[in-house]
């Protein structure tokens, strides 16, 4: 008999490492159910779902229009800025700059700009447009990189750079840019909704008050509007029309901006670390106190939630994608599951987290589940699409055997690549659950803003940006180790 032992494939080893890290985090994480009567709240929610409560028309239309306008204008602006940035993405400084601005969640940018500008539309716009610019730059740069391998230059070698770009690269990548920009619209609408939770007059504003008052009918109505808005994108969204839409949105949102320069200056002053402003405060005690009470616990909780949510995202998508795949189920089942999945991934995590929080109380459980379900629904959809493209043999097995031996091995690399991309996204999104009171870095940042300790807020934002950049780097290395260097075709937000 051969003495050969079975070498575990790299992808399996990687998965085991992921699972082990999540289990380790599980030990330290608080995943308890705190509320005594979760069912009571559940029935109230269910009652709300069946009796949506609509706002008066003017208010409803205004919330809809503002959600749309913020999303559209911010995406258009950031696509433009991202395009310009991507041309210089090979420069290390630009790359790092893009990584830092996208590492800070739009909620934090929002909190920052609301401090500086008040509840002016510009605050909301910048909050979305800044991180999105960083994301656009990265994705556009990747699209260009992928297209470059396709053919060698056929233009006269002395042509200037601008002509080279528009005559050679642009025609090849335009379609990809356009489809990604339109795709990003969906994310933009969700972000603009989420910013309502910190005061912007979008759908999220009413969602938050609905949750706060336990008015689940209002929540349901607002959610339905968001679904309709997102579903309508494919009807009206055209790349060519984006400048027109952005113009109309800008006109609609425009409001005179009176910047009180003394106020801004004093705020900027407040953002510099306390020991710098106040000679009575020593550097080390200030920093060590902050570290032990906020930075360290915040970072640790962020990491715990991220790792557990990441693995649960994977588990959720591996279990659910067969429901969407033609390798396993007939059309009626697939259509029904598809509808459910679209709803799950269109629902902003903050809503899911809020619902779970009300059901189970403030532990990490709501955060982890909200992140896992939202992201899992996205990954599941991508996996199903990928599996639909497989051509199996006439004698391919069925059911669980087909899943294990035919489909899973063929899509597993892609699956890990998707997960690596979700890693950074999930960590960014822990910010959201922070403002709901779960003690991630987002929570401490939110509290620092509330108590006007802007220097602490800025420091914590920097820490969370640093963590994001680290996770991004680890994910990149993991992908390289698994030879999954290429970006998956669909880039989800």
């Amino acid at each position: 008999m051969n003495a050969k032992s079975y070498p575990l494939p790299t992808s399996v080893v990687t998965s085991l490492l992921f699972i082990a890290s999540a289990l380790l985090c599980w030990i330290f994480a608080d995943l308890s159910i705190v509320t005594r009567t979760p069912w009571q709240e559940f029935f109230r929610m269910a009652a709300g779902v069946f009796s949506p409560q609509w706002l008066p028309w003017p208010e409803l239309l205004s919330a809809l229009a503002k959600t749309l306008a913020f999303g559209l204008l911010a995406v258009a602006l950031s696509a433009l800025v991202g395009f310009l940035l991507c041309l210089y993405f090979h420069k290390r400084g630009v790359k790092l700059f893009c990584a830092s601005i996208r590492a800070v969640h739009e909620l934090f940018w929002g909190l920052l700009f609301i401090q500086l500008l008040g509840l002016h539309p510009a605050a909301g716009l910048l909050a979305i447009a800044i991180p999105y610019s960083g994301i656009f730059a990265k994705v556009f740069a990747e699209i260009i990189e992928e297209s470059e391998t396709e053919s060698a230059s056929s233009l006269p070698p002395a042509s200037d750079k601008v002509s080279q770009f528009f005559y050679e690269k642009w025609p090849r990548i335009k379609a990809h840019f356009a489809s990604y920009t339109l795709y990003r619209l969906e994310c933009g609408l969700r972000s603009s909704t989420v910013l309502g939770f910190i005061g912007l007059p979008t759908l999220g504003f009413h969602l938050e008050s609905g949750f706060m008052q336990g008015n689940y009918g209002l929540v349901t109505a607002m959610l339905i509007m968001l679904y309709v808005l997102i579903a309508s994108i494919r009807v009206w969204a055209r790349f060519r029309l984006m400048p027109l839409y952005a113009g109309v949105a800008a006109f609609y949102l425009w409001a005179p901006l009176n910047i009180d320069s003394t106020l801004v200056l004093s705020l900027v002053h407040d953002m510099s670390p306390l020991p710098l402003r106040n000679t009575q405060t020593e550097w080390w005690p200030w920093f060590s106190n902050l570290s032990s009470t906020q930075i360290f616990p915040g970072a640790l909780n962020t990491l715990l939630i991220t790792q557990i949510a990441l693995v649960l995202t994977g588990v959720f998508s591996l279990i659910s994608f067969p429901l969407l795949s033609k390798q396993f189920f007939p059309r009626p089942t697939r259509s029904l599951s598809h509808l459910l999945m679209v709803m799950l991934r269109s629902t902003p995590e903050i809503i899911l987290a809020f619902v779970f929080l009300l059901l189970w109380g403030p532990s990490m459980l709501p955060a982890v589940l909200a992140l896992a379900i939202h992201n899992g629904a996205i990954t599941s959809h991508l996996l199903a699409r990928h599996s639909n493209e497989l051509e199996l043999r006439l004698d391919a097995s069925r059911g669980i055997n087909r899943y294990l031996y035919e489909v899973l091995p063929r899509i597993y690399g892609q699956f890990l690549a998707f997960l690596c991309y979700r890693w950074e996204v999930i960590m960014r999104e822990t910010a959201i659950v922070g403002i709901l009171g779960i003690h991630t870095l987002g929570f401490y940042i939110d509290s620092a803003f509330e108590s006007f300790r802007l220097d602490v807020a800025v420091l914590l934002i920097a820490v969370s940006a640093l963590m994001n950049i680290c996770v991004d780097e680890v994910a990149r290395r993991t992908r390289r180790r698994l030879h999954l260097v290429k970006q998956p075709l669909v880039r989800a937000c």
Binding site: N2, K4, Y6, L394, D395, S397, N401, L404, E406
Partner: protein, 233 residues
């Protein structure tokens, strides 16, 4: 020979026509298969061999026969090891638990069984290599190993000797002869065909133009399969 007396009839096709849209790929096929027959399908590419094989596969499976199948496009799971790809041959004959367990960690008994088959095909060294890293000829032998491992009595194979050198092709034919009671194999190599077949079916343009016992056939009798009778090709 075990088709003396009155062997069981496996399948009968009467005036069967298969068309994709307006394109007729199999034209009024009449064919009877009996248990114990070793049939080789000969014909140029595009003559309908693959379509006929697929049709035979479907019909036999509908009749609840267990079939070993080697398609032209092998359809192996490239990320999985040779062991797993061969193991797939018997997934439907084992419990889900066994299948799941062996996906994660191959059990000793299955390793031995599959190692034995691979030895006969000179592939034992590659037991745990991912199939995607093997050469075309090696992959062809993996597909054959899967068919052998399946332990079916009937084999349907579409060009199973593609990419194999003469020696390996001969070995494969011997293994097929030894392991399967009946088989239908599409081949393009006439010598190889004559070495295994006891019945030859010639296809041309979707029609059966020859159906005879191999012993009765001379090389000239096979010519119409490949060349036009009167005009130069």
């Amino acid at each position: 020979m075990n088709n003396q007396g009155s062997p069981k009839k496996l399948l009968s096709l009467a005036d069967e026509t298969i068309a994709y849209g307006s394109k007729v790929v199999l034209d009024e096929i009449n064919l009877h298969l009996h248990d114990g027959e070793r049939i080789v399908l000969l014909g140029k590419s595009g003559s309908g061999k693959s379509t006929l094989l697929k049709h035979l596969y479907q019909t036999l499976v509908n009749n609840d026969e267990t079939i070993a199948w080697i398609p032209q496009r092998l359809g192996l799971t490239e990320k999985l090891s040779v062991f797993h790809n061969v193991f797939i041959g018997r997934l439907d004959q084992q419990s889900r638990f066994t299948n799941l367990r062996n996906l994660l960690w191959p059990a000793q008994e299955h390793r031995q069984a599959i190692h034995g088959i691979l030895q006969e095909l000179s592939l034992a060294e590659e037991l745990f290599s991912p199939v995607g890293t093997l050469s075309g000829g090696q992959q062809q032998r993996v597909a054959a190993a899967r068919a052998l491992y399946r332990q079916a009595s009937i084999l349907l194979a579409d060009e199973p000797a593609t990419g194999l050198d003469q020696g390996s092709a001969k070995t494969l034919m011997t293994l097929i002869e030894k392991n399967f009671g009946s088989c239908v194999i599409a081949l393009h190599d006439v010598d190889l065909a004559m070495s295994i077949a006891d019945r030859i079916i010639g296809l041309r343009g979707g029609k059966i133009i020859l159906d005879a016992l191999a012993v009765d056939l001379s090389p000239e009798a096979l010519a119409p399969i490949y060349h036009d009778a009167n005009t130069a090709p």
